[in-house]
Subunit: 444 residues, 2 copies
């Protein structure tokens, strides 16, 4: 394909993308295929000679689309949103064309891990300053990290990867991690000869969008010389609205903070951002400086942001030029429109909450703070599991479950930018219809 | 921006991208800005109200482009190639529009780490089967991993992250890691009570594209129950040509293998692929299964590739739908054209090698196997450092250095798809002109 053909095919692709997004509602949100369906549809080897580009494009509908879960469908209420907007798509096109290897962040999971590794490095230095005879692995075996039992699975994984003990602390009735229990745990662990060094607190948990109490946890971490990492992967985007800022109270105690603009800030996947209080802590944990990455500008001091050093801040060496799409989106939307987007989605969630509350057969299972509603039929876990199975089987809407206090709960999250009030009402009608049938069967 | 505006602006962007790539040679390959230049050109805050998209686009040239290193310029001979092709760009547009969260690999650095973590997990189980009293951190402190002194910095970093001792083994005169030295190291370490568990061998090192001797290393690793990971980040693409396949001899002994299609296989960044001999080894090391990721299809057994399980194979939870661009590229180029691309670039490197060899003031510093030529002026390191500094300052071409046997060496790598014989000749003319001036100064 030469530049001329690219000009033609690229413009067709633009139309295809616009058509896809304008008509996404007409596609079933959840695919009706079994894992492995793709194997039958594609050859086992790459073709020897080029195929016409148009044949490939035709196969997108035949081969790819049947297996796609349409995350931007207005009927997608599962997980959390993944961002999408036209300017972001345009920026990504340019980013691909420039194709330079930039240095930026990947996902919240990586941020959690990076913070843990930096904290581990810092803790080792601290312990060695008073116990110089201890080796690094000996110190690792004494380190203990904490998180809430509601934290994202990636926190536990970060512990596994770093070879560190990660303890999960129970939460209060609001699924919030509180200071008293952390304090108690630290005291017990120190008495047992362990070294508390890291806390991952969450603002907006994946299960039910609960918020750990930074105002209580922060001072404890500071006092105990523990690294406090704050994971606000989903909720972080809401902090562009002043009315949601109080959720961030206590952030001044944190050593690092992360949120994913690719979730809820109109920026398409992937784009995650991390703040670190003292960047020397992060650089120290990762610095391995090969010869071919040394540059003249590398020694230009701490006063200017040194791009060449960013590679010490993460696990992979290279990254796409992701900030380009943030820049496109911030500028073409402006803060007010981005705020309006957040507020609209929160209002839609509240609307769904009212519908649930008005139906006595159902219950709300956690406070609705942002765009996530956790609900269930009053009744057994089995009943709710069956309800979700039927929702999934019907493929009209897409939800995923969570577990709260041992109960099977359905998560209804406002995700797509195109979701409107009538989608929420239709979804609720669909859910109640399925619930009605289910409850009838149980009576009979 | 609505769909109609996206259709218009998208088509303009297609033309901008085509113009950019067609005329990239006219831009200085290396930017003439100081780190921090950007801060003066952009406001400190995002705009309250939307700006016109066209203003943003105008600023791409004013604000962004001056700071860009043009990796696809035919005058870019630094690092290794980063892939680029029109079909790949088109696929990435579609990938962004679908915007689903897929599960795939990121970079070779991550593959190296993932393999190390899987090996660590396997080694712990093995040691615990005979020494059940040992805790995980106690075992970690006895584990030892190996790599060549020529290996990529990410290997050392993987050791740091995993909290594991990583030893660098010297290479032979060809910068290749050999069996005898590995065997000796293992013997000594075992005598000291350590547990050898992992080797990262490289095919095509970053410094000089040397190849570790898998035929010697592989049987040793298998015998010692050590995980052998093979990193062929750059060279891997060349194995689509039968004539380069012998470089892969011994791969049958490996437990895992990685290469980056985004380097040399016409696929734009980022796209990296990894093979694992026993996938249970990888899944075991990463499995943390939260409730909201459980699905009906998850228990469908080992016979079909289970997409839901792929998230256990890596550090971040989500990934872009990267295989789409591989599929576009494989199909629209076909194997023969991809092979032709590799062969052409190897031939260009050989052409540059001949030019260097024909000039008695210069020397070739490592065997030219693929697209990388390591060379220097016969003389001091200072002389070669000054030469590179002047090349960089002139910004006509872009090279980076490496260090071989304590000597400062220049790396000339064929990177851009648009690099032709006349670019190589012009680059050589430029280098010899600067060298001539430099040597004249030294005489005077």
């Amino acid at each position: 394909m030469d530049a001329e053909e690219f000009r033609r095919k690229g413009k067709e692709m633009i139309d295809y993308v616009a058509d896809y997004l304008e008509n996404i509602e007409q596609r079933p949100v959840y695919p009706d295929v079994e894992p492995g369906y793709l194997r039958q549809l594609i050859p086992t080897e790459a073709p020897e000679d080029p195929e016409p580009y148009d044949d490939v494009l035709k196969d997108v509908e035949r081969v790819i689309m049947p297996g796609v879960t349409h995350w931007h469908s207005p009927n997608f209420f599962a997980y959390f949103p993944t961002g999408n907007s036209y300017p972001s798509l345009l920026a990504d096109m340019l980013c691909g064309a420039i194709g330079c290897i930039g240095f930026s962040w990947s996902t919240a999971s990586e941020a959690t891990l990076v913070a843990l590794l930096a904290a581990r490095c810092k803790a080792v230095k601290r312990v060695q300053s008073t116990n110089p005879e201890l080796s690094e692995p000996e110190i690792y075996s004494k380190l203990v990290a904490y998180t809430s039992e509601q934290a994202h699975s990636s926190v536990e994984r970060a512990g596994l990867i770093g070879g560190i003990m990660m303890k999960k602390i129970p939460t209060d009735y609001n699924y919030s991690l509180r200071g008293a229990l952390l304090k108690k745990m630290i005291k017990e662990d120190k008495a047992a000869g362990l070294v508390p060094f890291y806390l991952c607190a969450t603002l907006g948990t994946t299960s039910c969008c609960s918020f750990d109490n930074l105002m209580e946890l922060g001072p404890i971490c500071n006092e105990e010389n523990m690294w406090m990492h704050v994971d606000a992967a989903y909720a972080g985007s809401s902090f562009i609205c002043p009315e949601f800022r109080p959720l961030l109270n206590g952030i001044e105690f944190a050593d690092s903070f992360n949120f994913n603009p690719h979730k809820w800030l109109l920026i398409n996947f992937d784009c995650s951002s991390m703040w670190v209080k003292k960047r020397a802590d992060i650089i120290g944990a990762f610095k391995v400086e090969p010869f071919y990455l040394k540059h003249d500008n590398q020694e230009s001091g701490e006063s200017t942001l040194n791009l060449n050093k960013l590679l010490h801040w993460q696990i992979p060496l290279g990254r796409r030029f992701r900030s380009l799409k943030m820049w496109f989106v911030f500028r073409t939307f402006g803060i007010k429109q981005m705020q309006a987007h957040i507020r609209k989605q929160v209002a839609l969630a509240k609307e769904f909450e009212s519908l649930v509350r008005a139906d006595k057969r159902f219950e709300i299972c956690a406070e609705v703070v942002l765009g996530l509603v956790c609900f269930r039929i009053k009744g057994s876990n089995e009943l709710n599991q069956t309800l979700l199975k039927r929702i999934t089987k019907n493929r009209q809407i897409h939800l995923v479950p969570c577990q709260l206090s041992g109960r099977f709960v359905l998560r209804f999250c406002i995700c797509a930018r195109s979701t409107e009030s009538h989608h929420v009402h239709k979804a609720w009608q669909h859910i109640t219809q399925l619930a009605f049938e289910l409850l009838q069967e149980h009576i009979n």
